[in-house]
């Protein structure tokens, strides 16, 4: 026995993907939406996106320097947070909104809970809701050079008709990244094809939302109304990019369906019965808070425990 046996603990087979490769894929998938936002709203949108991303990355860097921790900005998660947050801001927002939002997202929602993987709530959405509550008038002012007046969802809520073609393409008022359904779906397809996300959460989210709208909007199965609800607001962005956040979604398969259905119902409740037109952000952060409970309830049986014996 002269051969030296190497003993190592599992896992023995590893995937090539890493945190940074997955986050980079998300950044690439967000580029169509960001690009369309810049095309749609002009250079103001570009500046706001850059400022917000810079703010999240710098906050993470400075926080880790001060606390003498390992610098983790190389995993691109701060870039994803900044980009998502910026896509959730109206283009008329001043630059400091992006800075404050970025600092809040990283410092309070992410780093104070222990950094990436420990945050119980999606940082970008947490910051968006913080900004929405703090600076309501700025965050709900969607007037800009290109568009004035209500967002499609607000118009829909007050009973006006909306141009669905414009909503699908994205030529409407709204936050920078949410307007174009096409751009978001292109990015989502990229994520699904590269295996970064699967359709469990977005699928169950959108289907349960449609069912809820059919049942409770009082319009029955109104094709135009439903497609306006799907194309309007942050539903697509939320369903594909934020509800599927690895850290804040359930890890069990059954739990992911439960989570998706829960989000669909919550979004429906907020949009139809709530005072404001939009409710995706609140639905997702509420869902995030329930994830530990969902996981506890849907814990799969370990191999060898219980079940039928053959």
């Amino acid at each position: 026995m002269s051969d030296l046996m190497k003993v190592s603990s599992n896992p023995h087979i590893r995937a090539k993907s890493s945190t940074s490769s997955i986050m980079l894929a998300v950044v690439i998938a967000l580029l169509p939406a960001a690009g369309f936002g810049i095309y749609n709203f002009g250079t103001d949108a570009l500046i706001l996106i850059l400022v917000t991303v810079l703010s999240t990355v710098l906050t993470e860097y400075i926080f880790e320097k001060i606390l003498k921790k390992k610098t983790t900005i190389g995993d691109y998660s701060a870039v994803v947070t900044g980009l998502l947050l910026a896509l959730n801001l109206p283009v008329s927002a001043p630059w400091w909104i992006g800075v404050i939002g970025g600092i809040f997202a990283i410092l309070v929602v992410k780093m104070l809970f222990g950094g990436l993987g420990q945050n119980f709530m999606n940082p970008a959405l947490g910051a968006r809701c913080f900004l929405l509550i703090s600076f309501t008038s700025i965050m709900t002012n969607f007037d800009c050079d290109a568009y004035t007046g209500a967002t499609p969802l607000a118009a829909l809520k007050s009973g006006e008709t909306v141009n669905i073609f414009n909503m699908v393409v994205g030529k409407t008022a709204g936050t920078i990244g949410e307007t174009s359904m096409i751009a978001i779906v292109i990015g989502a397809c990229f994520l699904i094809l590269t295996g970064v996300i699967d359709l469990r959460i977005p699928g169950s989210y959108i289907v349960s939302f449609v069912v809820f709208i059919c049942l409770f909007s009082g319009r029955g199965f109104d094709y135009a109304y439903i497609s306006a609800h799907l194309a309007g607001g942050g539903l697509m962005l939320g369903a594909f990019f934020m509800a599927t956040d690895y850290v804040t979604r359930p890890i069990t398969v059954k739990g992911q369906y439960v989570y998706g259905i829960l989000l669909g119902i919550l979004t429906g409740i907020f949009r139809i019965f709530g005072p404001s037109a939009e409710g995706v952000s609140y639905a997702i952060i509420l869902g995030n808070l329930l994830v530990p409970l969902i996981e506890k309830a849907t814990l799969p049986t370990a191999f060898g425990k219980g079940g039928a014996r053959v």
Binding site: I100, V108, F130, I133, S134, F135, T136, I138
Partner: protein, 238 residues
């Protein structure tokens, strides 16, 4: 005289009810939407605290041990009712701002805590000043929290405009989440100072944990330091 001074400093710093003992969180979070409300709540509580402490101390040998809690509550509730009626009559604006939290002073755990752990075992004068010290500490903490929240959330301080015209108030700070943010940050700063003090080798533990070695009168049920009974029948650290 030394005793009185010690009691006042104890309430303000060593055993600050909000930042150290973490008592009375309900009014702390709820009414500190402005510096004025915080100060008002603090002073109202202080009056009740001082009077109830003195009164309970006065009756400490008469109140049977088994029914002491109901007896304390009756005494505290009487003073709260008096203060409530006085506020309604003379400072109606503060009365409206504090609302339900005035009657709720009855169940404020600082008051019952001091009655149980100090006033029921000590003479009248130190008990009175213990109440005043604790009340001052509470007022100080509430005014601090209220000032920060008002400054960030409304750009004013005691109603006066402090921030420049262009400042956009961050209104979440005068809503419920802001109370948690500010309280957590101020407590974190306090803890940071404590840790730095320990690193420098100063014995800050006595100050910050609120432990003066007086185990008999200690309300800290989580105290893990070894204790023994000394010759006078009192518990103290071994």
């Amino acid at each position: 005289m030394n005793d009185i001074k010690e009691r006042l400093i104890n309430g303000l710093v060593k055993e600050n009810p909000t930042f150290v003992l973490m008592l009375g969180m309900c009014p702390t979070l709820a009414v500190t939407t402005s510096a004025m409300n915080g100060l008002g709540m603090g002073l109202t509580t202080m009056v009740v605290l001082a009077l109830s402490n003195a009164f309970i101390s006065l009756l400490r040998n008469i109140i049977p041990d088994k029914v002491r809690i109901p007896a304390f509550i009756v005494i505290i509730a009487s003073f709260v009712t008096m203060v409530e009626l006085l506020l309604e009559g003379f400072i109606p604006s503060l009365y409206d701002a504090l609302g339900i939290y005035i009657p709720l002073i009855v169940v404020n755990c600082i008051i019952l805590g001091r009655a149980e752990s100090y006033a029921s075992k000590n003479p009248v004068i130190p008990s009175l000043f213990d109440g005043i010290g604790m009340g001052l500490g509470f007022s100080f903490a509430l005014t601090c929290i209220g000032s920060v929240r008002e400054l960030i959330g409304a750009g004013t301080l005691f109603g006066m405009h402090i921030m420049p015209e262009s400042y956009v108030p961050c209104s979440i700070f005068i809503m419920a989440p802001g109370a948690f943010f500010v309280l957590a940050t101020l407590t974190a700063i306090q803890n940071k100072i404590k840790i730095n003090g320990e690193r420098k080798g100063k014995d800050m533990s006595k100050i910050q944990s609120g432990c003066g070695g007086d185990c008999l009168n200690c309300s800290d049920t989580g105290c893990t330091k070894p204790q023994k009974i000394n010759g006078k029948g009192e518990r103290e650290h071994a």
